[in-house]
Symmetry: C2
Subunit: 443 residues, 2 copies
């Protein structure tokens, strides 16, 4: 397998091997229909059929061509490497508000080298100005690559490092912080930072992209611009996530870190605020606040930096046929807290009661969220819900299950006292839930 | 605690006890503002503040009144029991198409006795015609209460009984079957029946309600009418779910059983078709097909009745900090299949690789779905996804995690052969997933 062609298969791979083609070479494909395409061979690292050959055409767009036996594939020339020419920071930028950009990995922080197929971090400041020159009109950005890990490999240990890096920036007369992050677990990290970093002097805005920054359809630049604008102009001192509002390049939503969830595997508008309005929106390079409830930014705030997480918290999703012995095993493994993702208003089968009572008797916290995602748990409606509460389950209002398990890790690191744990879980620390209205029509 | 007042608390409960009030009694509340309300005391079994007293007013609406110390609560009279007068099946109905309605429990199949606060099944045929007289214009319904369990207590054993009951009806010259079901796990049951009952002669339509049938805001009657119309008129021979499309009483969506998910804890439009169009819609009592792909109903079909489920399948949701030892414990517990609910395009942290390889070596099936809910897993994009595939993970396209674990229970009951299991999991049996387009633009 020639290096760089790992993503290709079938007839596409065979044709490329036949002509000795490598990534970056100029290729001509004459389809049996007579149409001719010329372009630079790029590695397959995205969606679509691996039996397509993907060429970057002269107009900059990528095209995927399904190869048949009747097609003619030729190599026209050896590849020239596509590079980004790093720019020095423009002088005019130095007077703009300072916004550090912290790279942690993920699609937004990477580019593909078309010669080698390798994914490398883009985040030198010079790289960034060359790729997203608009940033030079908005802020004096300075990049720091903290680490470069895939989003799904992020752990509470990484959250701590990110929190510490952000905290170390607060003294530097900055206007806001941007964190570039893989999208898969960006919601979890945003929730973690929301608890770890409180009373913020400036906004902390996480940003990702669903398509890598060297693809014409990439959302990286647009999201990044939106994130930097929010970091500079948003009135809140909270942790937020900046991502495309819809499929076109016109609006970036700014979601509260404890309320945001990735709700599509691939679309650019995958991120949604759940059970809450977004904090704000960036349109035509203008930030507008949407939610009227927020903790205001204040440069004289003394931030509360508390990046500690206890990993002995576990998320368990219920389904019919669920065996309560699983809960017993988790207790045996030493877990100190369990977030149940129950059905509907917050239920699990009554077969689970015994295991839950054992957890309660061991001083293990059991919180209830709903796998419905939207809406609020309410364990007072049916007697089964009341039975679960008697057995020791704490209903967690309209908190996301993902946020709940992150919060529990943070809470368990604050105290060993079960009553204190319950109290903290039901204290609204970072907008992670809202209380039920105390009065409403019952009909 | 007087019987029936279990749902009340605080000042509301105190005031009711003081005047010796019971459920069904006529109560007058004079608010400190001077406003006077009179109505029948109903039990608290729904949303809202338990310190509200809920009265059924003369106009039929319920009102919840928050009680303060300054309010005057009086008992005007002993309660008369609210009853539904059972009607005999109207004679004209007998010529209409036959639709059995099978009651399994849940809100739709229950009413609250205002005297005792007890929840009782409504599903005698006479009850049904008296509550939803419109049914008498659509079909000759006949009810059967199979059992009466809370939705969250449904297990694969219940799925089997429901499937057998449905199958026993096929010989009876019926036009369709309706199953009344609690909403919490209705999606799981619909998926289970979709695999257990194939080549259906008529539609099988599950229906639930988010608010119980004796509340003015109940969606029970409207959903039930929609379900019966779909059972009579829909062109498909598949398992479906009928629920409100939106918040007003105008449309009922008919979702494919393998593609539907409860996405809100309490709203009437909680059910959504995911990654697929709904099968159809009922509006103004007319059924209209939406999806052009379906298995047509055919009275000469010989249904394939195969209601078997192996409970040694487990659903595991991944999150940062997830401990792969949990997978090891599940293997030790004898699980024969694991559905992972991974992040994004179908990822779990690389710390899980070792446990997954052990599962593969033990002949345990490991399937990947996405916690994003919407979209398709694609484990060819990043090398981490390819690593997981090499370790033995099977990507499950755009299948819902909930449907995947139900399908796995069914597949594991069909065969012990791991290659056969993989093949069945990737065979589209009941519209549970769609294949990726084989050709698409890569940009």
């Amino acid at each position: 397998m020639p290096h760089g062609l790992e993503g290709y298969r079938g007839l596409a791979l065979k044709a490329l091997i036949n002509i000795g083609a490598g990534i970056g070479d100029t290729i001509r494909i004459k389809k049996s229909s007579g149409t001719i395409y010329e372009g630079i061979l790029v590695p397959r690292f995205e969606y679509g059929d691996p039996e397509c050959i993907v060429l970057k055409l002269k107009n900059g767009y990528n095209i995927g061509l399904k190869i048949n036996d009747a097609d003619v594939v030729e190599k026209l020339g050896e590849g020239s490497k596509l590079t980004y020419k790093a720019q020095p920071t423009p002088k005019t930028v130095l007077n703009l508000p300072k916004v550090p950009i912290i790279g942690t990995g993920g699609t937004i922080a990477s580019r593909v080298d078309y010669r080698t197929g390798a994914v490398t971090p883009i985040f030198t400041t010079g790289d960034l100005y060359s790729m997203v020159p608009e940033l030079g009109e908005i802020a004096n950005v300075e990049t720091k690559v903290l680490f470069n890990v895939f989003s799904e490999d992020m752990t509470p240990k990484h959250w701590i490092k990110i929190a510490e890096e952000i905290a170390s920036q607060f003294g530097n007369n900055i206007q806001g912080v941007v964190v570039a992050h893989g999208t898969d677990t960006m919601g979890y990290t945003a929730a973690a930072l929301s608890f770890a970093l409180q009373a913020l002097p400036v906004p902390v805005v996480l940003v990702g992209s669903q398509r890598s920054s060297d693809r014409p359809s990439s959302d990286a630049a647009f999201n990044l611009i939106g994130a930097v604008i929010a970091a500079v102009h948003a009135p809140f001192g909270e942790v937020a996530v900046a991502m495309h509002k819809n499929l076109s390049d016109d609006e970036v939503l700014i979601h509260r870190g404890t309320r945001v969830r990735k709700c599509h595997t691939s679309r650019r508008d995958a991120f949604k605020s759940i059970n809450a309005d977004p904090l704000g929106i960036v349109k035509n390079r203008v930030y507008r606040q949407i939610s009227s409830f927020f903790k205001p930014r204040n440069s004289s705030n003394s931030p509360k930096i508390n990046p500690v997480f206890e990993e002995k918290a576990v998320l368990v999703k219920y389904y019919p046929g669920f065996n309560p012995e699983i809960i017993e095993k988790l207790l045996d493994m030493g877990y100190r807290g369990v977030i149940l993702e129950g059905t509907g208003l917050g239920h699990v089968g009554s077969v689970c009661i015994k295991a839950i009572e054992r957890a309660r008797d061991m001083g293990v916290f059991i919180g209830m969220t709903s796998q419905c995602i939207w809406g609020r748990v309410n364990m007072d409606v049916y007697y089964t819900g009341r039975d679960l509460q008697r057995a020791g389950v704490t209903p967690l209002e309209d908190m996301l299950a993902e946020t709940a398990v992150v919060k529990l890790m943070w809470v368990l690191a604050q105290t060993d006292n079960i009553e204190e744990i319950k109290k903290l879980m039901l204290t609204n620390i970072a907008g992670e839930f809202s209380h039920r209205l105390s009065y409403r029509w019952s009909a």
